[in-house]
């Protein structure tokens, strides 16, 4: 099995699907032209989806940035409370959120690149549709009927290949856009329940524990104050009161 051979098979299958409706070069040209317009439409729609997903991700990135500073603050509080375990938990979440940010940014960049390539591909297809239109007439004028047919067929195959290839590129871009959108939705949900960096235990648990730690630290401080008040040196005052 060959990688290139398989690619050829994939595109040929697309080409025969594309040409199945057309019976002569005239129809093929019209068909290619129509398909090219549809593809252009698809590329544009795809662009709109990418921009929407991108905006959404940018908003999410901002929320993530907020979470980063909040988690940092939580880690600091935990350390102050002498709870290194909680600080560790908060920092793990922070690192996880940072990874999310980096992954999302990379995905958006990748998709934007793909869209640019698609626009170029569509332009190329448009030029080839036009070239085919001109060439068909020249071929008909210059060659005998049989020869002309062979050359036109070759040109049709070339045009259909271009069409099929742009189609394939669009399908791939659509799939990537869908994945990006799904990811944005998943992150939206996680952000909504405040559970994004919540892959170990619940955020509530961290906050509750941190609250507990602060509470305990407060209790300890109060206890220490009371103990200090109850030092032997201060007892006489109490004893005086008693006596």
């Amino acid at each position: 099995m060959s990688l290139f051979g398989q690619m050829m098979t994939i595109l040929r299958a697309k080409i025969s699907a594309l040409l199945s409706g057309a019976e002569n070069p005239e129809e093929t040209l019209e068909y290619a032209y129509q398909r090219q317009l549809e593809l252009l439409q698809k590329v544009r729609m795809n662009m709109v989806n990418v921009v929407a997903a991108k905006r959404r991700l940018e908003a999410q990135l901002a929320s993530l940035e907020n979470q980063l500073s909040r988690l940092d603050e939580q880690a600091r509080q935990a350390l102050q409370a002498g709870r290194e375990d909680l600080a560790r938990l908060a920092l793990e979440r922070k690192v996880f959120a940072q990874q999310q940010v980096a992954a999302l940014e990379a995905q958006v960049r990748d998709l934007a690149e793909q869209q640019n390539r698609l626009i170029e591909a569509e332009q190329r297809l448009r030029q080839r549709v036009e070239a085919f239109r001109t060439r068909k007439e020249i071929i008909k004028a210059q060659y005998s009927a049989a020869e002309a047919q062979a050359r036109i067929n070759e040109a049709i195959t070339g045009l259909s290949e271009e069409l099929a290839d742009v189609g394939l590129a669009i399908e791939r871009a659509e799939e990537k856009t869908a994945r990006l959108k799904a990811r944005a939705e998943a992150i939206d949900e996680l952000l909504a329940v405040g559970a994004l960096p919540d892959y170990l235990t619940g955020r509530d648990v961290l906050e509750r524990e941190l609250g507990q730690a602060q509470l305990q630290a407060g209790v300890e401080a109060e206890l220490a104050r009371l103990k200090a008040e109850l030092q032997p040196g201060q007892r006489p005052a109490l004893k005086e009161g008693e006596g």
Binding site: L3, F4, R117, Q123, A131, A155, D165, L168
Partner: protein
């Protein structure tokens, strides 16, 4: 010969490029079978660069079918495996 890089366009290469391309194709097959992801990416990038640097871009007003079709430059290892399994590039 005409070589298409899928999603990018066609290149015209001289006829003896076919042998080299065939060797590269076989090597890519080996790497996918061996699940050598890093090796695959390195080789595949080299292949794309080789075609781009050796080939001459087919102008847009020339309508010719390709002799060889190379997968898109951003092909992932997972996609390459799918192509081999005959599942195509896009699910469904």
């Amino acid at each position: 010969m005409i070589v298409r890089i899928s999603g990018e366009g066609q290149y015209r290469l001289n006829a003896d490029a076919a042998r080299h391309l065939n060797e590269l194709d076989n090597e890519l097959v080996r790497l996918v079978e061996a699940r050598d992801e890093a090796g695959f990416y390195t080789r595949f990038r080299e292949l794309i660069e080789w075609v781009r640097s050796r080939g001459e871009r087919v102008p847009a007003d020339e309508v010719v079918p390709s002799d060889v079709i190379i997968p898109p430059p951003d092909l992932t290892f997972e996609e390459a495996r799918k192509v081999f399994r005959g599942e195509g590039l896009v699910p469904g």
